[in-house]
């Protein structure tokens, strides 16, 4: 009976084959070699298929190249495939150099950038010219660097270099440009005052607390009291003192190095010899090194919440920071891993796993204390010092508990990190680094800033290796080093409940990080 079944099955299949048959189909199914297609698992290559040859990434073609010109200007380029390139000039001038000037010079210059120079009469003309080159241009200033950059079509490099050199070295700084910048800065200062978002203010305050009165502790934004002192003469004095070729780097991504060097010689060096602010005149440049002082800065302020579009709770913000290291220090990478480990963000942050919801400030702080609205770790690092801080936001009545939670988190760091947690933080840092470096403007800024600061560029691979080598001992060591420095405390909002500075300082020296218990009979 079985035999009869199989015979009929065989006949069934043979008739199927006949109905589907073309000569190739038959041979495909029936030839013994290709019979393996049906039975070979996907993890094993097919017997007769050609051997694949994988593309090798030749590391030599992706090397950053640097040259130094006779006048001190550094030119650096990073090859990258693509039709567009990003080129710019980075200058070692920022708010940290403004001790002898009214604060906010660099910020003012940022507003006056690309607004009219010897070739292009006004901002519209500059924008039109850049559009013709197929791209966009922008100026950005920070505490220690000012960047003038543009992304354009790759073959339009020469006109772009001419435009950049002209904008940086030959700005006309007309009265109406200066007035417009002043108006926009007034508006910005107003906004900063009224907006409930603490962000730019808290950064200013924690820097002021950590580096009192010097270099990076100086305010980045112009202060209302001294804004009127910024005029064409003082701007030109600042430019004359700091916009020197030896303080500049011309960086390009997606360009040919020799071409970039030749064009820099032709346009940038030439423009540097006779800038619009004239080389004779008063100069005052400052070579101060950043000195971490620690200390407290409190700003008692009432936020007008009726101004915000979204209903916002009333919040007080506090940031507690301690001395970290400069970015050339060997402990810089452990601090970066520490930053990732602490992580944090807003409590209403919607996101899936991998967004950082497993960082310590989420797990131990935001998930446990419903009244904490936000807790974030920041690491600010400069070429001669740094600041690591944790910023928390809560209702003003909970401010003491907020500080308590932060000091306890700091103190826990000396107990060591679990391996899983540490590996997660390292992987997150590496992936964040690599993902960001996929964007050309970010590569440009990375190459430019590294060359400006240190003269050499650590490739992403080198950075990833350095991150891999961070161990638990490194984290504990940097945490101890940090906790031995004097804390910097900044607070904004209704800060009446903020604990005394001495209490916070003592809490950070204790292994459990607890604030002293205050017996309050009549409240504070």
């Amino acid at each position: 009976m079985a035999g009869r079944m199989s015979r009929s099955a065989g006949r069934y299949y043979r008739s199927l084959r006949k109905s589907f048959s073309t000569s190739s189909c038959l041979s495909y199914v029936e030839s013994p070699a290709n019979g393996d297609v049906m039975t070979t698992p996907l993890s094993v290559p097919l017997r007769d298929s050609p051997k694949p040859i994988y593309a090798e990434s030749a590391s030599e073609t992706f090397q950053t190249m640097t040259s130094k010109l006779n006048n001190g200007l550094t030119v650096t380029s990073q090859p990258k495939f693509g039709t567009f390139c990003t080129v710019g000039i980075l200058i070692n001038a920022g708010s940290r150099h403004e001790v002898a000037y009214p604060s906010g010079m660099s910020h003012y210059l940022e507003r006056c950038a690309f607004a009219g120079s010897s070739i292009y009469k006004d901002r519209d003309a500059v924008m039109l010219a850049v559009e013709k080159l197929g791209g966009i241009c922008d100026c950005q200033s920070s505490r220690d660097t000012t960047i003038y950059a543009a992304s354009v079509d790759r073959d339009k490099l020469e006109p772009l270099m001419e435009l950049l050199a002209d904008s940086v070295y030959q700005p006309t700084l007309d009265d109406d440009v200066i007035e417009q910048a002043r108006e926009s800065i007034n508006y910005e200062l107003d906004e900063l005052d009224k907006k409930p978002d603490p962000e730019p203010m808290m950064t200013e305050l924690i820097h002021e607390a950590g580096f009192r009165g010097n270099t990076v502790g100086l305010p980045k934004y112009p202060q209302a009291e001294t804004l009127h002192q910024i005029n064409k003469a003082s701007l030109q004095k600042f430019l004359r003192s700091y916009y020197l070729p030896e303080r500049m780097v011309v960086a390009g991504v997606g360009v040919d190095h020799d071409e970039l060097v030749a064009l820099s010689e032709k346009y940038v060096s030439a423009a540097a010899k006779s800038p619009s602010w004239s080389l004779d005149g008063a100069r005052e440049s400052d070579a101060s090194v950043a000195q971490y002082t620690g200390g407290e800065v409190k700003v008692q302020k009432h936020f007008d919440l009726s101004m915000s579009v979204v209903p916002m709770p009333e919040l007080a913000h506090v940031s507690i920071g301690m001395e970290s290291v400069k970015f050339t220090d060997t402990n810089f990478v452990p601090f970066a891993v520490l930053n990732m480990l602490m992580g944090g963000g807003g409590s209403f942050s919607a996101g899936g796993p991998g967004k950082g919801m497993f960082s310590r400030l989420y797990l131990n702080v935001l998930n446990r204390h419903h009244w904490m609205y936000a807790a974030t770790a920041y690491h600010h690092s400069y070429d001669d010092g740094g600041l690591f801080c944790i910023q928390g936001s809560a209702h003003p009545s909970q401010l003491r508990e907020c500080v308590h939670v932060i000091t306890q988190e700091f103190a826990k760091l000396t107990n060591g990190i679990d391996k899983v947690e540490l590996d997660r933080a390292k992987k997150q840092l590496q992936s964040m680094l690599m993902m960001n470096l996929e964007a050309r403007p970010v590569i440009f800024e990375d190459v430019g800033r590294q060359i400006l600061a240190t003269g050499e560029r650590k490739s992403p691979k080198q950075l990833c290796d350095m991150i891999d080598n961070v161990s638990n001992d490194d984290i504990v060591r940097v945490a101890r080093h940090m906790l031995s420095s004097r804390p910097a405390v900044a607070a904004l909002g209704d800060v009446k409940q903020l604990p005394d500075y001495e209490d916070i300082e003592n809490a950070l020296t204790r292994p459990d990080g607890k604030l002293p218990k205050k017996f309050r009979l009549f409240g504070r």
């Binding site: 009165g213 070579a287 101060s288 090194v289 000195q291 420095s485």
Partner: protein, 230 residues
């Protein structure tokens, strides 16, 4: 606008002096080292400095209990002229972990600043006071808010070996020396801006030395004064 009092001007000129011409002026380390010659030179300059400076009223008003004295310990290590520093202990109430000279407050029972400095030195690093060759005292060096003033006492300790010294762990974590050439080569400065409330307040410049530990603040002020004399 920067208005300067005599103290600050003297100090500022020392910064420029140090960073540009200090190499030439450190004859004490270059020529054949004769303690007597250097001592005479230092004493002479210190005396002229003291007569030149006029103390501001606020320093004169400081009562004796607020006075402090430190010993500026010049010594030789393997024949090289150095300064000796201490790392303050974390157990102390103020300035934990910072670099300082041995010294402390002038207490009852001390005959003066020199005596206080020598007593504190003996307590903190265990160097016997009778072995210190006191050369001179320098004028008060005050902190920038003029709330405290310290009298530096320049003394010569001779050839020392750090290992032989026993620090008092309650006050001193570590003792180390830095050669004068090392200090000069690693000198830098920071200019501080303050929100001046009175006409007498103005920006000030502080030196900083990046040797194995960062030396800053009042200690760096004293180092700068001493280096500019030598």
């Amino acid at each position: 606008m920067l208005r300067t009092s005599i103290c600050i001007r003297l100090f500022k000129s020392r910064i420029k002096y140090n960073t540009r011409t200090a190499q030439n002026q450190l004859h004490a380390t270059h020529c054949i080292f004769s303690t007597e010659n250097v001592k005479k030179h230092v004493v002479k300059i210190a005396e002229s400095l003291t007569s030149e400076l006029s103390y501001s009223n606020s320093i004169k008003r400081l009562k004796l209990k607020n006075q402090a004295a430190v010993l500026v310990p010049l010594c030789t290590v393997n024949g090289e002229l150095c300064l000796l520093f201490t790392v303050r202990s974390n157990n102390l109430p103020t300035h934990k972990g910072q670099i300082s000279f041995p010294g402390g407050g002038v207490k009852h029972g001390d005959t003066g600043a020199v005596d206080a400095a020598l007593r504190e030195t003996e307590e903190e690093i265990g160097f016997p006071r009778n072995k210190v060759d006191v050369w001179t005292t320098l004028p008060h060096i005050s902190n920038h808010t003029r709330t405290a003033a310290v009298i530096p006492v320049v003394g010569y300790l001779g050839e020392v070996n750090i290992e032989d010294m026993v620090p008092d762990r309650n006050e001193v974590t570590e003792i180390f020396t830095v050669s004068l050439t090392n200090l000069v080569n690693n000198a830098s400065y920071t200019r501080f801006r303050i929100k001046a409330k009175k006409r007498s307040e103005h920006d000030y410049v502080m030196p900083v030395y990046f040797t194995q530990y960062r030396i800053w603040g009042l200690t760096a002020n004293i180092v700068d004064t001493v280096l500019s004399i030598l």
